[in-house]
Symmetry: C2
Subunit: 198 residues, 2 copies
């Protein structure tokens, strides 16, 4: 429609998550007709980000430098390590403001059927990080999915020989959750992990 | 979070319609971690589209050339003109496959409170196009909104002196519409505009 370059833009927008053909068309029209400046700015930001952002050499999260700001920070607790699946999880935990230690990004979860074993998610490197004695507690914050749980359990087993405490983030009813609508597995976890109030 | 360039990319993605802060973050992470090639391709497509796509000199729709393919086409009926508000509407009607004439894009609708009068949406140019005698029927396909209706009525009044037939696209119950859920204004239009079957 309209021109080859218009169609190319629509196709290029389709790679964005949850953008279908209709949304891509709407986005393309919006950019060309109402915000050419924004479109050029987005093109520039995409080029810059893809050129300069890469994995941190220590925690595997994202950074523009050799080592990310969190790993470099002297104000964060070096003895506390939070293990997550992806940089998106680092972002989510940071935005919750609930953690002041360092991170370790696995880059995925164990999934034997897809050929993703301990080596693929860098378990040997995690063990190496835990071996220097600085870290005293590891918070396993992999997803509360079957794969995330399996990965957490695997990490516990694989690091049994190290004198490091291991905790798992709590599972239970989410904030604002009405019991009527919470799934039964979550509810049974919430009852099982109940906390004493008095 | 992560780096300045990451935040810039998130901000740049926010200009896309219906993309909020969370979606923009998800898009940025997806592009950087899973599809750098797609991101570069998108940047290229944005640069190309903003440089080369502009309004057609005849119908005001979008094209890469002086005159768009539809205006140039010898296979389309020159005597039939469809008046729409925006290039998105041209696209929608083309995709319906229901029209084989030419188009005229107003670039908006009358909105006196916003200072948009007949001159701002090029009514004089439309009258000029209709004056050469080639066009015998105008289909008014402005939106079925208050402003779109007012614009259609204005075009009819403004071209009263010209020997050109004017029709308005039908209003009624949409395909698949269950009467129970159709608003009462639409339903009253559908009853009023009922068509004889026998």
């Amino acid at each position: 429609m309209f021109s080859g370059r218009f169609d190319q833009l629509v196709q290029a927008l389709r790679i964005l998550p949850s953008v279908g053909p209709k949304s891509a068309q709407r986005m393309a029209l919006h950019l060309i007709m109402k915000n050419k400046e924004g479109a050029l700015n987005l093109a520039h930001a995409l080029n810059e980000a893809t050129s300069f952002i890469h994995e941190c050499n220590i925690c595997n999260s994202l950074t523009e430098n050799e080592i990310c700001d969190i790993c470099l920070s002297a104000e964060r607790d070096d003895s506390l390590l939070c293990v997550v699946e992806s940089p998106a999880d680092v972002m989510a935990i940071e935005q919750s403001g609930s953690f002041r230690g360092k991170y370790h990004v696995l880059g995925g979860h164990l999934s034997p059927l897809d050929g993703i074993g301990p080596d693929e998610i860098g378990i040997p490197y995690l063990i190496q990080r835990l071996s220097d004695g600085k870290i005293t507690e590891v918070i396993l914050a992999t997803n509360a999915t079957v794969e995330g749980q399996a990965t957490a359990h695997y990490v516990v087993e694989a690091t049994k020989h190290l004198p490091v405490g291991m905790t798992r983030i709590a599972q239970g009813v989410p904030q604002g959750g009405e019991l009527e609508y919470v799934d039964s597995h979550t509810l049974s976890q919430a009852v099982h992990n109940r906390m004493r109030m008095k």
